[in-house]
Point group: C2
Protein backbone atom coordinates (compact mmCIF):
# COMPACT_ATOMS: atom_id res chain seq x y z
CA UNK A 1 0.00 0.00 0.00
CA UNK A 2 2.79 2.46 0.91
CA UNK A 3 6.51 2.66 0.18
CA UNK A 4 7.47 5.24 2.80
CA UNK A 5 5.33 6.51 5.65
CA UNK A 6 6.48 9.45 7.78
CA UNK A 7 4.96 9.48 11.26
CA UNK A 8 5.29 12.86 12.96
CA UNK A 9 4.80 12.37 16.70
CA UNK A 10 5.61 8.81 17.74
CA UNK A 11 3.29 8.26 20.70
CA UNK A 12 0.30 5.99 21.25
CA UNK A 13 -1.65 7.17 18.18
CA UNK A 14 1.20 7.55 15.70
CA UNK A 15 3.08 4.52 16.98
CA UNK A 16 -0.02 2.32 16.81
CA UNK A 17 -0.69 3.28 13.18
CA UNK A 18 2.97 2.62 12.32
CA UNK A 19 2.86 -0.80 13.98
CA UNK A 20 -0.50 -1.63 12.42
CA UNK A 21 0.78 -0.83 8.90
CA UNK A 22 4.06 -2.68 9.40
CA UNK A 23 2.62 -5.80 10.96
CA UNK A 24 0.08 -6.10 8.14
CA UNK A 25 2.76 -5.65 5.46
CA UNK A 26 1.17 -2.41 4.25
CA UNK A 27 4.32 -0.28 4.28
CA UNK A 28 7.90 -0.88 3.28
CA UNK A 29 9.56 1.75 5.48
CA UNK A 30 8.35 3.86 8.39
CA UNK A 31 10.23 7.02 9.31
CA UNK A 32 9.52 8.51 12.73
CA UNK A 33 9.90 12.16 13.66
CA UNK A 34 9.99 13.14 17.32
CA UNK A 35 11.58 15.91 19.33
CA UNK A 36 12.84 13.26 21.73
CA UNK A 37 15.85 11.10 20.73
CA UNK A 38 14.88 8.68 23.53
CA UNK A 39 11.44 8.20 22.02
CA UNK A 40 12.98 7.50 18.62
CA UNK A 41 15.43 4.99 20.07
CA UNK A 42 12.63 3.25 21.94
CA UNK A 43 10.42 3.24 18.82
CA UNK A 44 13.19 1.63 16.75
CA UNK A 45 13.84 -0.93 19.50
CA UNK A 46 10.12 -1.83 19.62
CA UNK A 47 9.96 -2.17 15.83
CA UNK A 48 7.44 0.69 15.60
CA UNK A 49 9.61 2.66 13.15
CA UNK A 50 12.55 1.73 10.96
CA UNK A 51 14.48 4.96 11.29
CA UNK A 52 13.88 8.25 13.01
CA UNK A 53 15.01 11.84 13.25
CA UNK A 54 14.38 14.77 15.51
CA UNK A 55 13.87 17.18 12.59
CA UNK A 56 11.31 16.94 9.82
CA UNK A 57 13.91 18.07 7.28
CA UNK A 58 15.72 14.74 7.85
CA UNK A 59 12.69 12.63 6.98
CA UNK A 60 12.85 13.04 3.18
CA UNK A 61 9.18 13.80 2.96
CA UNK A 62 9.60 14.35 -0.81
CA UNK A 63 9.71 10.57 -1.21
CA UNK A 64 6.95 9.82 1.31
CA UNK A 65 3.60 8.59 0.10
CA UNK A 66 2.00 8.96 3.55
CA UNK A 67 2.53 11.64 6.18
CA UNK A 68 0.66 11.08 9.45
CA UNK A 69 0.70 13.86 12.06
CA UNK A 70 0.08 12.63 15.59
CA UNK A 71 1.55 15.33 17.80
CA UNK A 72 -0.39 17.22 20.45
CA UNK A 73 -2.62 19.84 18.80
CA UNK A 74 -0.35 22.70 19.90
CA UNK A 75 2.43 21.45 17.61
CA UNK A 76 0.32 21.35 14.41
CA UNK A 77 1.00 24.96 13.28
CA UNK A 78 4.77 24.42 13.41
CA UNK A 79 4.51 21.02 11.69
CA UNK A 80 2.45 22.46 8.82
CA UNK A 81 4.85 25.40 8.46
CA UNK A 82 7.77 22.99 8.14
CA UNK A 83 5.88 20.82 5.66
CA UNK A 84 4.91 23.86 3.57
CA UNK A 85 8.58 24.80 3.27
CA UNK A 86 9.49 21.35 1.89
CA UNK A 87 8.78 19.77 -1.48
CA UNK A 88 6.05 17.14 -1.43
CA UNK A 89 5.09 14.72 -4.20
CA UNK A 90 1.72 15.56 -5.79
CA UNK A 91 0.04 12.40 -4.54
CA UNK A 92 1.45 12.32 -0.99
CA UNK A 93 -1.31 11.69 1.51
CA UNK A 94 -1.27 14.00 4.54
CA UNK A 95 -3.56 13.00 7.34
CA UNK A 96 -3.55 13.20 11.12
CA UNK A 97 -4.98 12.11 14.44
CA UNK A 98 -5.91 15.52 15.85
CA UNK A 99 -9.01 15.71 18.07
CA UNK A 100 -10.03 19.25 17.05
CA UNK A 101 -10.47 19.32 13.28
CA UNK A 102 -11.15 23.02 12.71
CA UNK A 103 -7.92 23.84 14.51
CA UNK A 104 -5.98 21.39 12.33
CA UNK A 105 -7.50 22.83 9.15
CA UNK A 106 -6.88 26.42 10.28
CA UNK A 107 -3.25 25.55 11.03
CA UNK A 108 -2.85 23.98 7.57
CA UNK A 109 -4.40 27.03 5.85
CA UNK A 110 -2.14 29.37 7.82
CA UNK A 111 0.91 27.48 6.56
CA UNK A 112 -0.08 26.52 3.00
CA UNK A 113 -2.34 29.49 2.22
CA UNK A 114 -5.27 28.77 -0.05
CA UNK A 115 -3.26 26.18 -2.00
CA UNK A 116 -3.79 23.28 0.42
CA UNK A 117 -2.31 20.04 -0.93
CA UNK A 118 -4.92 17.80 -2.57
CA UNK A 119 -3.62 14.90 -0.51
CA UNK A 120 -4.53 16.63 2.76
CA UNK A 121 -7.42 14.70 4.36
CA UNK A 122 -7.91 15.59 8.04
CA UNK A 123 -8.87 12.66 10.25
CA UNK A 124 -9.46 11.48 13.80
CA UNK A 125 -9.29 7.87 14.95
CA UNK A 126 -11.66 7.36 17.91
CA UNK A 127 -9.33 5.20 19.90
CA UNK A 128 -7.17 5.84 22.87
CA UNK A 129 -6.19 4.60 26.23
CA UNK A 130 -5.23 6.32 29.42
CA UNK A 131 -1.74 5.08 28.63
CA UNK A 132 0.32 7.27 26.36
CA UNK A 133 3.72 7.16 24.69
CA UNK A 134 5.27 4.80 22.18
CA UNK A 135 5.58 1.97 24.71
CA UNK A 136 1.76 1.79 24.68
CA UNK A 137 1.63 1.44 20.87
CA UNK A 138 -0.59 -1.43 19.78
CA UNK A 139 -0.95 -2.83 16.26
CA UNK A 140 -4.60 -3.63 16.97
CA UNK A 141 -5.57 -0.31 18.59
CA UNK A 142 -7.81 0.62 15.67
CA UNK A 143 -9.51 -2.73 15.09
CA UNK A 144 -13.31 -2.26 15.27
CA UNK A 145 -12.86 1.41 16.15
CA UNK A 146 -14.31 4.33 14.28
CA UNK A 147 -12.21 6.81 12.31
CA UNK A 148 -13.74 10.15 11.37
CA UNK A 149 -12.50 11.93 8.24
CA UNK A 150 -13.33 15.60 7.67
CA UNK A 151 -12.26 16.28 4.07
CA UNK A 152 -11.99 19.92 2.99
CA UNK A 153 -12.87 21.43 -0.41
CA UNK A 154 -9.30 21.00 -1.59
CA UNK A 155 -9.12 17.28 -0.68
CA UNK A 156 -8.83 15.09 -3.81
CA UNK A 157 -11.61 12.49 -3.93
CA UNK A 158 -8.97 9.87 -4.68
CA UNK A 159 -6.91 10.88 -1.64
CA UNK A 160 -10.00 10.57 0.57
CA UNK A 161 -10.55 7.04 -0.78
CA UNK A 162 -6.93 6.09 -0.13
CA UNK A 163 -7.01 7.35 3.46
CA UNK A 164 -10.27 5.44 3.98
CA UNK A 165 -8.67 2.31 2.54
CA UNK A 166 -5.68 2.70 4.85
CA UNK A 167 -7.81 2.85 7.99
CA UNK A 168 -9.99 -0.02 6.84
CA UNK A 169 -6.84 -2.07 6.19
CA UNK A 170 -5.86 -1.70 9.85
CA UNK A 171 -9.34 -2.74 11.00
CA UNK A 172 -11.20 0.55 11.49
CA UNK A 173 -14.63 1.72 10.26
CA UNK A 174 -14.49 5.07 8.47
CA UNK A 175 -17.12 7.81 8.47
CA UNK A 176 -16.98 11.32 6.98
CA UNK A 177 -18.49 14.48 8.49
CA UNK A 178 -17.88 18.21 8.49
CA UNK A 179 -15.15 19.60 10.76
CA UNK A 180 -17.72 21.69 12.64
CA UNK A 181 -19.99 18.72 13.39
CA UNK A 182 -16.96 16.63 14.37
CA UNK A 183 -15.83 19.27 16.85
CA UNK A 184 -19.33 19.45 18.42
CA UNK A 185 -19.79 15.68 18.64
CA UNK A 186 -16.42 15.06 20.27
CA UNK A 187 -16.66 18.07 22.56
CA UNK A 188 -19.86 16.47 23.88
CA UNK A 189 -18.91 12.79 23.94
CA UNK A 190 -15.18 12.84 24.62
CA UNK A 191 -13.76 16.22 25.66
CA UNK A 192 -16.57 16.91 28.16
CA UNK A 193 -16.26 13.60 30.06
CA UNK A 194 -12.47 13.89 30.16
CA UNK A 195 -12.71 17.33 31.73
CA UNK A 196 -15.41 16.16 34.16
CA UNK A 197 -13.25 13.24 35.27
CA UNK A 198 -10.17 15.44 35.79
CA UNK A 199 -12.38 17.84 37.79
CA UNK A 200 -13.66 15.18 40.16
CA UNK A 201 -10.17 13.89 40.95
CA UNK A 202 -8.95 17.47 41.41
CA UNK A 203 -11.86 18.30 43.73
CA UNK A 204 -11.28 15.32 46.00
CA UNK A 205 -7.49 15.33 45.97
CA UNK A 206 -6.38 16.25 49.50
CA UNK A 207 -9.64 18.06 50.19
CA UNK A 208 -9.31 19.57 53.68
CA UNK A 209 -12.63 18.12 54.86
CA UNK A 210 -11.87 14.58 53.79
CA UNK A 211 -8.16 13.76 53.91
CA UNK A 212 -7.13 10.94 51.57
CA UNK A 213 -10.58 9.77 50.50
CA UNK A 214 -9.34 7.85 47.51
CA UNK A 215 -8.87 4.88 49.85
CA UNK A 216 -12.66 4.64 50.17
CA UNK A 217 -13.30 4.48 46.44
CA UNK A 218 -14.15 1.28 44.62
CA UNK A 219 -14.52 0.08 41.04
CA UNK A 220 -17.15 2.64 40.05
CA UNK A 221 -14.88 5.54 40.91
CA UNK A 222 -11.90 3.90 39.26
CA UNK A 223 -13.79 3.45 35.99
CA UNK A 224 -15.38 6.92 36.11
CA UNK A 225 -11.96 8.52 36.51
CA UNK A 226 -9.94 6.23 34.24
CA UNK A 227 -9.75 8.97 31.59
CA UNK A 228 -8.32 11.36 34.20
CA UNK A 229 -5.09 9.36 33.87
CA UNK A 230 -4.80 10.55 30.26
CA UNK A 231 -1.92 12.67 29.00
CA UNK A 232 -2.31 16.21 30.44
CA UNK A 233 -0.54 17.94 27.53
CA UNK A 234 -2.84 16.33 24.98
CA UNK A 235 -5.93 17.32 26.97
CA UNK A 236 -4.74 20.84 27.69
CA UNK A 237 -4.36 21.27 23.93
CA UNK A 238 -7.80 19.84 23.20
CA UNK A 239 -9.38 22.22 25.72
CA UNK A 240 -7.44 25.12 24.19
CA UNK A 241 -7.94 24.33 20.50
CA UNK A 242 -11.55 23.16 20.63
CA UNK A 243 -12.35 25.74 23.28
CA UNK A 244 -15.56 27.13 21.78
CA UNK A 245 -17.31 23.76 21.55
CA UNK A 246 -15.80 22.54 24.83
CA UNK A 247 -16.96 25.64 26.71
CA UNK A 248 -20.41 25.32 25.16
CA UNK A 249 -20.84 21.71 26.31
CA UNK A 250 -19.40 22.48 29.73
CA UNK A 251 -22.10 25.17 30.00
CA UNK A 252 -24.82 22.77 28.83
CA UNK A 253 -23.62 20.33 31.47
CA UNK A 254 -23.63 23.02 34.14
CA UNK A 255 -27.25 23.85 33.32
CA UNK A 256 -28.14 20.17 33.85
CA UNK A 257 -26.14 20.15 37.07
CA UNK A 258 -28.11 23.16 38.32
CA UNK A 259 -31.37 21.30 37.61
CA UNK A 260 -30.08 18.32 39.56
CA UNK A 261 -28.97 20.40 42.53
CA UNK A 262 -32.47 21.90 42.66
CA UNK A 263 -34.05 18.45 42.45
CA UNK A 264 -31.85 17.06 45.27
CA UNK A 265 -32.45 20.07 47.50
CA UNK A 266 -36.20 19.91 46.82
CA UNK A 267 -36.09 16.10 47.33
CA UNK A 268 -37.93 15.73 44.05
CA UNK A 269 -38.21 11.94 43.92
CA UNK A 270 -40.05 11.82 40.58
CA UNK A 271 -37.62 14.05 38.73
CA UNK A 272 -34.62 12.13 40.09
CA UNK A 273 -36.11 8.74 39.30
CA UNK A 274 -37.04 9.76 35.77
CA UNK A 275 -33.59 11.16 35.09
CA UNK A 276 -31.78 8.08 36.44
CA UNK A 277 -34.16 5.63 34.80
CA UNK A 278 -34.01 7.38 31.42
CA UNK A 279 -30.22 7.57 31.52
CA UNK A 280 -29.87 3.91 32.50
CA UNK A 281 -32.19 2.83 29.68
CA UNK A 282 -30.37 4.98 27.12
CA UNK A 283 -26.99 3.67 28.21
CA UNK A 284 -28.11 0.06 28.32
CA UNK A 285 -29.58 0.41 24.84
CA UNK A 286 -26.84 2.37 23.09
CA UNK A 287 -23.64 1.57 24.96
CA UNK A 288 -23.92 -1.82 26.63
CA UNK A 289 -25.73 -3.69 23.87
CA UNK A 290 -23.40 -3.11 20.98
CA UNK A 291 -20.28 -4.69 19.68
CA UNK A 292 -18.31 -1.65 18.52
CA UNK A 293 -16.65 0.79 20.88
CA UNK A 294 -14.44 -1.38 22.99
CA UNK B 1 -21.05 -18.66 62.90
CA UNK B 2 -24.83 -18.29 62.51
CA UNK B 3 -27.79 -20.61 62.86
CA UNK B 4 -30.40 -18.52 61.06
CA UNK B 5 -29.80 -15.39 59.01
CA UNK B 6 -32.73 -13.29 57.79
CA UNK B 7 -31.93 -11.26 54.68
CA UNK B 8 -34.44 -8.47 54.07
CA UNK B 9 -34.17 -7.37 50.45
CA UNK B 10 -32.74 -10.14 48.28
CA UNK B 11 -30.89 -8.22 45.58
CA UNK B 12 -27.24 -7.88 44.68
CA UNK B 13 -26.08 -6.78 48.15
CA UNK B 14 -28.28 -9.01 50.29
CA UNK B 15 -28.04 -11.96 47.93
CA UNK B 16 -24.26 -11.74 47.77
CA UNK B 17 -23.91 -11.76 51.56
CA UNK B 18 -26.29 -14.73 51.77
CA UNK B 19 -24.30 -16.64 49.16
CA UNK B 20 -20.98 -15.67 50.75
CA UNK B 21 -22.10 -16.96 54.16
CA UNK B 22 -23.61 -20.16 52.75
CA UNK B 23 -20.73 -21.08 50.48
CA UNK B 24 -18.24 -20.62 53.33
CA UNK B 25 -20.34 -22.75 55.69
CA UNK B 26 -20.94 -19.81 58.03
CA UNK B 27 -24.72 -20.17 58.31
CA UNK B 28 -27.06 -23.09 58.68
CA UNK B 29 -30.20 -21.51 57.22
CA UNK B 30 -30.86 -18.32 55.26
CA UNK B 31 -34.37 -16.89 55.17
CA UNK B 32 -35.08 -14.30 52.48
CA UNK B 33 -37.71 -11.58 52.69
CA UNK B 34 -38.77 -9.78 49.53
CA UNK B 35 -41.93 -8.10 48.31
CA UNK B 36 -41.56 -10.05 45.07
CA UNK B 37 -42.49 -13.78 45.03
CA UNK B 38 -40.56 -14.08 41.74
CA UNK B 39 -37.39 -12.80 43.39
CA UNK B 40 -37.83 -15.30 46.23
CA UNK B 41 -38.37 -18.19 43.82
CA UNK B 42 -35.29 -17.18 41.82
CA UNK B 43 -33.23 -16.78 45.01
CA UNK B 44 -34.19 -20.29 46.16
CA UNK B 45 -33.45 -21.70 42.70
CA UNK B 46 -30.00 -20.06 42.71
CA UNK B 47 -29.24 -21.39 46.19
CA UNK B 48 -28.98 -17.85 47.59
CA UNK B 49 -31.63 -18.48 50.27
CA UNK B 50 -33.13 -21.65 51.73
CA UNK B 51 -36.65 -20.36 52.19
CA UNK B 52 -38.37 -17.05 51.65
CA UNK B 53 -41.47 -15.06 52.41
CA UNK B 54 -43.00 -11.82 51.26
CA UNK B 55 -43.74 -10.65 54.80
CA UNK B 56 -41.30 -10.12 57.63
CA UNK B 57 -43.76 -11.69 60.08
CA UNK B 58 -43.22 -15.03 58.31
CA UNK B 59 -39.45 -14.99 58.81
CA UNK B 60 -39.43 -15.98 62.52
CA UNK B 61 -36.97 -13.26 63.38
CA UNK B 62 -37.22 -14.28 67.05
CA UNK B 63 -34.97 -17.23 66.26
CA UNK B 64 -32.61 -15.32 63.94
CA UNK B 65 -29.10 -14.54 65.09
CA UNK B 66 -28.44 -12.22 62.12
CA UNK B 67 -30.79 -9.79 60.41
CA UNK B 68 -29.33 -8.03 57.36
CA UNK B 69 -31.35 -5.24 55.75
CA UNK B 70 -30.47 -4.65 52.10
CA UNK B 71 -33.54 -2.92 50.68
CA UNK B 72 -33.44 0.48 48.97
CA UNK B 73 -33.11 3.23 51.59
CA UNK B 74 -36.75 4.29 51.20
CA UNK B 75 -37.93 0.97 52.68
CA UNK B 76 -35.86 1.18 55.89
CA UNK B 77 -38.47 3.06 57.99
CA UNK B 78 -41.13 0.41 57.29
CA UNK B 79 -38.67 -2.44 57.88
CA UNK B 80 -37.62 -1.03 61.27
CA UNK B 81 -41.25 -0.47 62.25
CA UNK B 82 -42.03 -4.08 61.49
CA UNK B 83 -38.95 -5.28 63.37
CA UNK B 84 -39.83 -3.13 66.38
CA UNK B 85 -43.26 -4.80 66.55
CA UNK B 86 -41.71 -8.28 66.68
CA UNK B 87 -39.82 -10.05 69.46
CA UNK B 88 -36.08 -10.29 68.91
CA UNK B 89 -33.55 -12.31 70.89
CA UNK B 90 -31.25 -10.15 73.00
CA UNK B 91 -28.13 -11.05 71.03
CA UNK B 92 -29.58 -10.87 67.52
CA UNK B 93 -27.29 -8.85 65.25
CA UNK B 94 -29.07 -6.26 63.11
CA UNK B 95 -26.96 -4.73 60.39
CA UNK B 96 -27.50 -3.41 56.90
CA UNK B 97 -26.08 -2.31 53.57
CA UNK B 98 -27.58 1.18 53.39
CA UNK B 99 -25.51 3.89 51.70
CA UNK B 100 -26.75 6.79 53.88
CA UNK B 101 -26.04 5.94 57.51
CA UNK B 102 -27.69 8.87 59.27
CA UNK B 103 -30.94 8.06 57.47
CA UNK B 104 -30.73 4.41 58.56
CA UNK B 105 -30.06 5.41 62.17
CA UNK B 106 -32.87 7.99 62.14
CA UNK B 107 -35.27 5.39 60.77
CA UNK B 108 -34.26 2.92 63.50
CA UNK B 109 -34.71 5.55 66.23
CA UNK B 110 -38.12 6.49 64.85
CA UNK B 111 -39.23 2.86 65.12
CA UNK B 112 -37.49 1.66 68.30
CA UNK B 113 -37.42 4.97 70.18
CA UNK B 114 -34.45 5.51 72.45
CA UNK B 115 -34.24 1.80 73.24
CA UNK B 116 -32.31 0.77 70.15
CA UNK B 117 -31.35 -2.91 70.26
CA UNK B 118 -27.76 -3.46 71.40
CA UNK B 119 -27.23 -5.73 68.38
CA UNK B 120 -27.91 -2.90 65.94
CA UNK B 121 -24.64 -2.06 64.16
CA UNK B 122 -25.20 0.03 61.02
CA UNK B 123 -22.90 -0.83 58.13
CA UNK B 124 -22.10 -0.23 54.50
CA UNK B 125 -20.17 -2.61 52.26
CA UNK B 126 -18.32 -0.62 49.56
CA UNK B 127 -19.04 -3.01 46.76
CA UNK B 128 -21.45 -2.92 43.94
CA UNK B 129 -21.83 -3.39 40.26
CA UNK B 130 -23.97 -1.75 37.67
CA UNK B 131 -25.87 -5.04 37.64
CA UNK B 132 -28.59 -5.38 40.22
CA UNK B 133 -31.00 -8.05 41.41
CA UNK B 134 -30.50 -11.47 42.89
CA UNK B 135 -29.29 -12.95 39.59
CA UNK B 136 -26.18 -10.76 39.97
CA UNK B 137 -25.46 -12.12 43.48
CA UNK B 138 -21.84 -13.20 43.85
CA UNK B 139 -20.32 -15.09 46.80
CA UNK B 140 -17.05 -13.22 46.26
CA UNK B 141 -18.48 -9.72 45.88
CA UNK B 142 -16.97 -8.57 49.17
CA UNK B 143 -13.53 -10.16 48.86
CA UNK B 144 -10.86 -7.46 49.26
CA UNK B 145 -13.54 -4.78 49.52
CA UNK B 146 -13.99 -2.35 52.34
CA UNK B 147 -16.93 -2.42 54.74
CA UNK B 148 -17.67 0.65 56.85
CA UNK B 149 -19.39 0.23 60.21
CA UNK B 150 -20.91 3.23 61.97
CA UNK B 151 -21.76 1.96 65.47
CA UNK B 152 -24.09 4.10 67.57
CA UNK B 153 -23.96 4.69 71.35
CA UNK B 154 -26.37 1.84 71.93
CA UNK B 155 -24.35 -0.70 69.90
CA UNK B 156 -22.90 -3.46 72.14
CA UNK B 157 -19.12 -3.69 71.77
CA UNK B 158 -19.52 -7.44 71.38
CA UNK B 159 -22.07 -7.01 68.59
CA UNK B 160 -19.68 -4.68 66.75
CA UNK B 161 -16.95 -7.32 67.00
CA UNK B 162 -19.29 -10.03 65.68
CA UNK B 163 -20.38 -7.94 62.70
CA UNK B 164 -16.72 -7.18 61.98
CA UNK B 165 -15.90 -10.88 62.18
CA UNK B 166 -18.74 -11.71 59.80
CA UNK B 167 -17.49 -9.32 57.12
CA UNK B 168 -13.92 -10.46 57.55
CA UNK B 169 -15.06 -14.06 57.19
CA UNK B 170 -16.44 -13.25 53.73
CA UNK B 171 -13.21 -11.54 52.71
CA UNK B 172 -13.81 -7.85 53.46
CA UNK B 173 -11.71 -5.30 55.38
CA UNK B 174 -13.68 -3.49 58.08
CA UNK B 175 -13.28 0.11 59.22
CA UNK B 176 -15.36 2.13 61.70
CA UNK B 177 -16.26 5.81 61.41
CA UNK B 178 -19.02 8.16 62.50
CA UNK B 179 -22.26 8.21 60.48
CA UNK B 180 -21.73 11.89 59.63
CA UNK B 181 -18.21 11.33 58.26
CA UNK B 182 -19.42 8.28 56.35
CA UNK B 183 -22.19 10.28 54.70
CA UNK B 184 -19.73 13.02 53.65
CA UNK B 185 -17.10 10.63 52.33
CA UNK B 186 -19.53 8.62 50.23
CA UNK B 187 -21.43 11.68 49.02
CA UNK B 188 -18.09 12.87 47.63
CA UNK B 189 -16.59 9.62 46.34
CA UNK B 190 -19.62 7.60 45.30
CA UNK B 191 -22.91 9.53 45.21
CA UNK B 192 -21.40 12.51 43.37
CA UNK B 193 -19.83 10.49 40.52
CA UNK B 194 -22.99 8.41 40.11
CA UNK B 195 -25.07 11.56 39.70
CA UNK B 196 -22.50 13.10 37.34
CA UNK B 197 -22.54 9.99 35.16
CA UNK B 198 -26.35 9.88 35.01
CA UNK B 199 -26.31 13.59 34.09
CA UNK B 200 -23.93 13.16 31.18
CA UNK B 201 -25.97 10.33 29.65
CA UNK B 202 -29.17 12.34 30.19
CA UNK B 203 -27.64 15.44 28.57
CA UNK B 204 -26.52 13.61 25.44
CA UNK B 205 -29.52 11.30 25.06
CA UNK B 206 -31.32 12.39 21.89
CA UNK B 207 -29.93 15.92 22.15
CA UNK B 208 -31.50 17.88 19.28
CA UNK B 209 -28.13 19.21 18.07
CA UNK B 210 -26.45 15.84 17.91
CA UNK B 211 -28.86 13.00 17.12
CA UNK B 212 -27.71 9.61 18.36
CA UNK B 213 -24.18 10.53 19.39
CA UNK B 214 -23.65 7.44 21.49
CA UNK B 215 -22.47 5.71 18.31
CA UNK B 216 -19.39 7.94 18.34
CA UNK B 217 -18.38 7.07 21.89
CA UNK B 218 -15.56 4.70 22.72
CA UNK B 219 -14.14 2.96 25.76
CA UNK B 220 -13.52 6.12 27.77
CA UNK B 221 -17.18 7.11 27.62
CA UNK B 222 -18.33 3.58 28.35
CA UNK B 223 -16.21 3.40 31.50
CA UNK B 224 -17.10 6.93 32.63
CA UNK B 225 -20.81 6.14 32.38
CA UNK B 226 -20.75 2.54 33.61
CA UNK B 227 -22.26 3.60 36.94
CA UNK B 228 -25.14 5.28 35.04
CA UNK B 229 -26.42 1.75 34.40
CA UNK B 230 -26.98 1.32 38.13
CA UNK B 231 -30.41 0.72 39.66
CA UNK B 232 -32.42 3.98 39.45
CA UNK B 233 -34.54 3.27 42.54
CA UNK B 234 -31.49 2.71 44.69
CA UNK B 235 -29.88 5.92 43.46
CA UNK B 236 -33.04 8.01 43.75
CA UNK B 237 -33.19 6.92 47.39
CA UNK B 238 -29.52 7.75 48.02
CA UNK B 239 -30.02 11.24 46.54
CA UNK B 240 -33.14 11.69 48.66
CA UNK B 241 -31.88 10.29 51.95
CA UNK B 242 -28.34 11.68 51.87
CA UNK B 243 -29.58 14.86 50.25
CA UNK B 244 -27.73 17.39 52.45
CA UNK B 245 -24.28 15.91 51.82
CA UNK B 246 -25.09 15.11 48.18
CA UNK B 247 -26.27 18.66 47.48
CA UNK B 248 -23.20 20.05 49.22
CA UNK B 249 -20.78 18.03 47.07
CA UNK B 250 -22.76 18.78 43.90
CA UNK B 251 -22.31 22.47 44.77
CA UNK B 252 -18.59 22.01 45.43
CA UNK B 253 -18.32 20.32 42.05
CA UNK B 254 -20.24 23.11 40.37
CA UNK B 255 -17.82 25.67 41.80
CA UNK B 256 -14.93 23.68 40.25
CA UNK B 257 -16.84 23.46 36.98
CA UNK B 258 -17.25 27.24 36.95
CA UNK B 259 -13.50 27.64 37.39
CA UNK B 260 -12.89 25.27 34.49
CA UNK B 261 -15.37 27.04 32.22
CA UNK B 262 -13.55 30.31 32.93
CA UNK B 263 -10.18 28.69 32.23
CA UNK B 264 -11.35 27.20 28.91
CA UNK B 265 -12.96 30.45 27.80
CA UNK B 266 -9.85 32.41 28.79
CA UNK B 267 -7.67 29.73 27.12
CA UNK B 268 -5.65 29.56 30.31
CA UNK B 269 -3.10 26.94 29.30
CA UNK B 270 -1.22 26.93 32.61
CA UNK B 271 -4.29 26.50 34.78
CA UNK B 272 -5.62 23.69 32.59
CA UNK B 273 -2.29 21.88 32.45
CA UNK B 274 -1.79 22.11 36.19
CA UNK B 275 -5.27 20.82 36.90
CA UNK B 276 -4.98 17.89 34.47
CA UNK B 277 -1.43 17.04 35.52
CA UNK B 278 -2.25 17.18 39.24
CA UNK B 279 -5.35 15.03 38.78
CA UNK B 280 -3.49 12.45 36.70
CA UNK B 281 -0.71 12.21 39.28
CA UNK B 282 -3.18 11.88 42.17
CA UNK B 283 -5.16 9.20 40.37
CA UNK B 284 -2.08 7.27 39.26
CA UNK B 285 -0.76 7.35 42.82
CA UNK B 286 -3.92 6.57 44.77
CA UNK B 287 -6.15 4.62 42.41
CA UNK B 288 -4.03 2.82 39.82
CA UNK B 289 -1.18 1.70 42.04
CA UNK B 290 -3.07 -0.19 44.69
CA UNK B 291 -4.42 -3.63 45.08
CA UNK B 292 -7.68 -3.00 46.91
CA UNK B 293 -10.75 -1.51 45.25
CA UNK B 294 -11.39 -3.80 42.33
Amino acid sequence: MFERAVIIGVGLIGGSLALALKQRGLVREVVGVSRSPDTLAEAVRLGVIDIGGTRLEQAHVDSADLIFIATPLGAFPAVFEQLAALTLAADTLITDGGSAKQHVIDAARAAFGDALPGGFVPGHPIAGKELSGVTAADADLYVDHRVILTPVDSSDARAVKRVEAMWEAVGACVECMTPAFHDEVFAATSHLPHLLAYLLVDLLNEHPELGNVFRYTAGGFRDFTRIASSDPTMWRDIALYNHAAVAKWLRHYRAELDRMICAVEARDADMLYQLFDGAKKARDQHIVNRKEGS
